[in-house]
Symmetry: C2
Subunit: 232 residues, 2 copies
């Protein structure tokens, strides 16, 4: 880890020096009772790779992460959260002072309406769990946005570009990274990914299968290009 | 790990030599769709400790485990499963030839009635998730039982002994290990535990806070004592 830190300081290419970058990663946990919860298959690997690369490019990085099994990236401020509500609070609190915000976390859209602190006893019958929508973090950030460069992720199994383009516009994003999770090597758990990037300037590019670290590097080339007015 | 294997072979106290022991561990995952799932906080540590101690005591051990972040115990046959249905199938298939069966897994009682292979699109409204009961593994084993020594676990937050005694009788168990999960140091994630053991011969003992490995050792003293007719 010392070597990593030295390498980082020696690197001449620090296009994000002086910039603050906020990255979210991992799943959230939505509690049903003392034992049971809802969650999702996000491993946090993509978000952690993005945080790492942002740091290597010279940024001051804050990583807000749900529960994952990964080592903390060197030189990055890590904020651990559990629920969608925690994630919302941490991210909105930090948003104002950021230059780039990349929301790679897979935040629960729904949480159980009632959360029991004790363990519910089971019944013989079926059980209806009433779920309510969580606050939409990306949509909130899209409204709060002043001059932050705001990037969302879309994990989809169907109509990828159509859903992605819709989300980009609806949530007032600068860019969206679309992830086809029906392919195993692009999946949540894998170390590789293949994505499709759309931006609100009309940039449209498929990035073929690569390590999540390489994907992160390529994403920053695109974002930095766009931020500096070079739209290609 | 080589040293562990050697130590094991050198150990003189092998009261379970020639016995087959089946242990279950960890949570199960019940899929809602391609991304979302329902699970629980079991870490698998208690079940893994039991499997390890059973092996050290000379048994031939099969460990059926849900998804956990633990190293496989040395010299134990590990069967990985995901859902309650997988766990049911694996355990009932193995049950007949076992001498001792210890069900430490936290198997989901409920699973979503519909499981979507694609990702469901979210709606603005609330969402009702209809859950159905999974097959009760312990109850099934209690019915299938010939001369197996069958041990269940109860993770409770309330009325521990009352619920535990009820489960012992209702499911035709030989013993039940009751776990107060409202205390953090007894929790699913911790390396320590404190339990209360009840047996169908009327044995009743609280085991105070200890490492899960020590708890496992003490449990086997009790079970072996009971199986050999020494009820104390």
């Amino acid at each position: 880890r010392i070597i990593e830190v030295i390498e980082q300081h020696q690197s001449k290419e620090q296009p994000l020096a002086g910039k603050k970058v906020l990255v979210t990663a991992g799943p959230t946990i939505e509690v049903v009772d003392a034992v049971r919860y809802f969650t999702n298959h996000s491993s946090g690997k993509m978000g952690f790779a993005i945080a790492e690369v942002a740091r290597q490019l010279g940024a001051e990085v804050t990583l807000v992460t749900g529960p994952v099994q990964l080592d903390e990236p060197v030189g990055v401020e890590v904020i651990n959260v559990t629920s969608a509500k925690d994630m919302y609070d941490a991210v909105t609190k930090q948003f104002n002072e950021q230059h780039i915000v990349i929301k790679a976390a897979a935040v629960a859209d729904y949480r159980p309406k009632k959360q029991h602190s004790r363990k519910m006893k089971k019944q013989d019958d079926d059980l209806m769990i009433e779920m309510e929508r969580t606050d939409d973090i990306l949509k909130t950030l899209g409204k709060l946005k002043t001059d932050q460069y705001l990037v969302g992720f879309a994990a989809e199994t169907d109509k990828l570009l159509e859903y992605g383009q819709g989300k980009l516009e609806r949530k007032n994003l600068d860019a969206i990274v679309i992830n086809d999770i029906s392919e195993e090597q692009n999946g949540f758990k894998s170390d590789t990914n293949a994505v499709h990037v759309l931006t609100n300037k009309g940039f449209n590019k498929a990035i073929p299968l690569k390590s999540k670290h390489e994907i992160a590097s390529q994403l920053f080339s695109i974002f930095i290009g766009e931020m500096s007015g070079d739209g290609s």
